[in-house]
Symmetry: C2
Subunit: 154 residues, 2 copies
DNA sequence: ATGAATAGTTAAACTGTTTAACTATTAAAC
DNA sequence: GTTTAATAGTTAAACAGTTTAACTATTCAT
């Protein structure tokens, strides 16, 4: 591949990924309403998936420091969306779970997001979607490997 | 497509796009060094592309309010990377350009980024890259249309 | 039993963001 | 022409998210 091709590809990729990222965040923001930020929504999403987790686990998953998680968790906790429960055996550990309110908020939002996504994927055929997400995941693996080589463990 | 398929697709897409976004930002951060944030780099990138621009233009391009641009521009200006020049005809307007220092910093960084990207795209064949970015751009257009329908002009 | 490691929090500092008020300037209406 | 609108940009206050560094409390290891 020539240098110019690489340059064009970089420009094109940065432009489209910026725009898609921005638009997607905006659409999600519309669905979750003004009471929650996107990042807070992603935390609820993860907790919905795994049921119970800890701050350290969230810091690993979202690739940020634990103190960043504390800030987000505290805000969700103040909104009454999550619960903090100390482990009785290892009293350093705090288990995080969705409250009923948090669960029902997430469920409602997720419904709307699924409807929205449904309306988008009608416009692609299945093979195009599969091809796209496969390449995306392949790119992800290459980036992960590259980050590990460079010692960017997190 | 079934509801479960949609759910799986949403989960898979969110996971991979989060991870790729994070890794890409990290790799770019490694290349641009600690003196600059990613957002600041993207502003330099745009200015390198167009030569001269205004704050209002940047606000349009990056889809943020003008005051957010002022903050970023001021930080780049304090680092001596960009120049502010008042228009002599319309004295409300301030033209923004890269200083020599800003240009040379961007050029050096861009070289390294191109080398890095070059090492990645070796691992895909051309048709896969084209297919991927075409679908990505198609998705972008769908999202743009959807945002416009909902009145999210910016 | 002491010292090291772990889980989580707190505080300070910073970037990026929005809203709202403001200045300065230009354009439009009359 | 003067007054009114709109435009370009900045400033200030407030907030979310982030990191670093110091700290508490607890558990593990030797």
């Amino acid at each position: 591949m020539t240098d110019k091709n690489i340059k064009d590809l970089v420009d094109r990729y940065i432009a489209v990924s910026f725009s898609v990222h921005k638009k997607a965040e905006q659409l999600i923001q519309d669905e979750i309403g003004s009471g929650l930020t996107n990042d807070q929504h992603y935390v609820l999403r993860y907790m919905n998936k795994v049921g119970t987790c800890t701050s350290s686990e969230l810091a690993d998953v979202f690739e940020v420091k634990k103190s960043a998680i504390t800030a987000i968790i505290t805000r969700l906790w103040e909104k009454g969306l999550i619960q903090r429960t100390r482990d009785v055996d290892d009293r350093r550990v705090v288990y995080l779970t969705l409250t009923e309110q948090g669960q029902s908020l997430f469920d409602k939002t997720e419904d709307r997001i699924h409807k929205l996504v449904g309306s988008f994927i009608n416009q692609f055929d299945t093979s195009e979607i599969n091809q796209f997400i496969n390449t995306y995941e392949k790119l992800n693996n290459i980036l992960i490997e590259s980050c590990e080589c460079r010692g960017n463990k997190e």
